[in-house]
Symmetry: C2
Subunit: 228 residues, 2 copies
DNA sequence: CGGAAGATTGATCAGTTTCAAGCTCCGTGG
DNA sequence: CCACGGAGCTTGAAACTGATCAATCTTCCG
């Protein structure tokens, strides 16, 4: 149980809590594992609780009838998902699938809410979590509505490169999934990568991409202008 | 002060609190008024607190460099905005402008957070508020990415008509603003309204729109959306 | 080695935006 | 009271972005 508490303390949602809280969280949580590609929940399913990613990756997404997919978020270890239906009491707003072999902690709704009632710090952490996601979504809406695909891709590449101020970045998702993340399709993504290569802004080889002209990418990312 | 408490109790965020809480909220809040078109805050401004709309309407939006506008949300009386930066400590994620002559209540960050610490009910209400907004944003992302403009318009008309199960709806925003809400431009919106008219699905005259074929609109609205 | 999934490329197409012009409504001032 | 002027809305033609369809190529495992 001590191990569990230690593990929980490393999760942003649970940072800075009292020891007793970690023990309570351990008691109510349920560990579940999923194979790559396995579905965790579907849009509309009753939300009986929420999840924290312990290991692996979880894809939160919407799908159209034609099969096109828009990824809302890729959850990495330490991130939460499914919280929305805990607090609104409606079904899950989107689909969740394990994008890799994944382990999650499940927290049943009622038990978790009673913990929140007991600990304002947990409540504040959760609000920070929700707010962060809200900010991300606002950014995604902005990108989808006000930027073109090259702008979104440039922004993503700069984001990857900015993590460690490195100009040699490695895509951490397949190109098909990257397309779904950027709100486009693989064909279009491929063409735009080719174009950026041809313009000398990047040099890509499979999942390895070298950023050659950061300034140029920033211009595309900020202005969303068309490429010549 | 009793009046104020009564007013606060009618706001979802503040429902079901103790009398003492209403008095505390009254003490820390600040009433501010804005003319139509007046700016309340800009993206990136330091968030020193959040707002509740008392009267009027507040437009939360993003603008592109070319001037195109995407409305994230139109806040009506009782709704909150600017909460995100209270809990993440960064600047406001979008712009806020009074879309009508507007009165708001401002709640300073630190004082409000200390109230949250004292009252789990307030915390839970706030989480419900944030979750509701998150769900709306997820829907907007889905619409922008997976639906075409006619689908988004049809959905909006059905939403308006569904409020009171009425087939005679009145647009509550200008067509230019509706375009910005749907992620398009006035010209495109105008063309699509004309097309829906011509197809006999609606009969529009200025801001007055009669829904003639609910079924037909539903089909268009769900196009691109996976059937549940 | 073979085969399937993923990725690229080409040709075409549909939906949306852009640019431009004209129209309607409405408040204001002569 | 009418005329003017401007903002908002509509309409048309052309340009453009991204999607679709189809074919190939690559990668990567079993």
């Amino acid at each position: 149980m001590a191990d569990m508490a230690k593990q929980l303390a490393g999760i942003p949602l649970f940072s800075g809590l009292l020891q007793a809280q970690y023990e309570a969280l351990s008691r109510i949580s349920l560990k579940r594992s999923f194979l790559k590609g396995e579905r965790i929940f579907s849009e509309g399913d009753e939300g009986t609780g929420f999840y924290v990613v312990a290991g692996g990756r979880v894809k939160i997404f919407k799908v159209s009838m034609e099969g096109k997919e828009q990824i809302l978020h890729l959850c990495r270890p330490g991130e939460t998902f499914g919280e929305v239906s805990v607090f609104t009491g409606q079904g899950f707003p989107a689909d969740a699938v394990a994008a890799l072999p994944t382990t999650v902690l499940f927290f049943p709704r009622a038990a978790f809410i009673s913990l929140i009632r007991q600990d304002p710090a947990l409540a504040l952490n959760m609000m920070a979590q929700l707010s962060k996601r809200l900010r991300e979504f606002a950014g995604l809406i902005e990108d989808l509505s006000l930027k073109e695909v090259p702008g979104r891709l440039a922004k993503y590449l700069l984001y990857l490169g900015g993590l460690d101020r490195n100009d040699a970045v490695a895509l951490d998702v397949s190109k098909g999934q990257l397309a779904a993340l950027l709100g486009t399709i693989p064909e279009t993504l491929s063409r735009i990568l080719t174009k950026l290569n041809h313009q000398g802004l990047i040099r890509s080889q499979g999942a390895q991409i070298m950023i050659l002209d950061r300034r140029g990418l920033e211009e595309i990312a900020q202005e969303g202008k068309r490429l010549p």
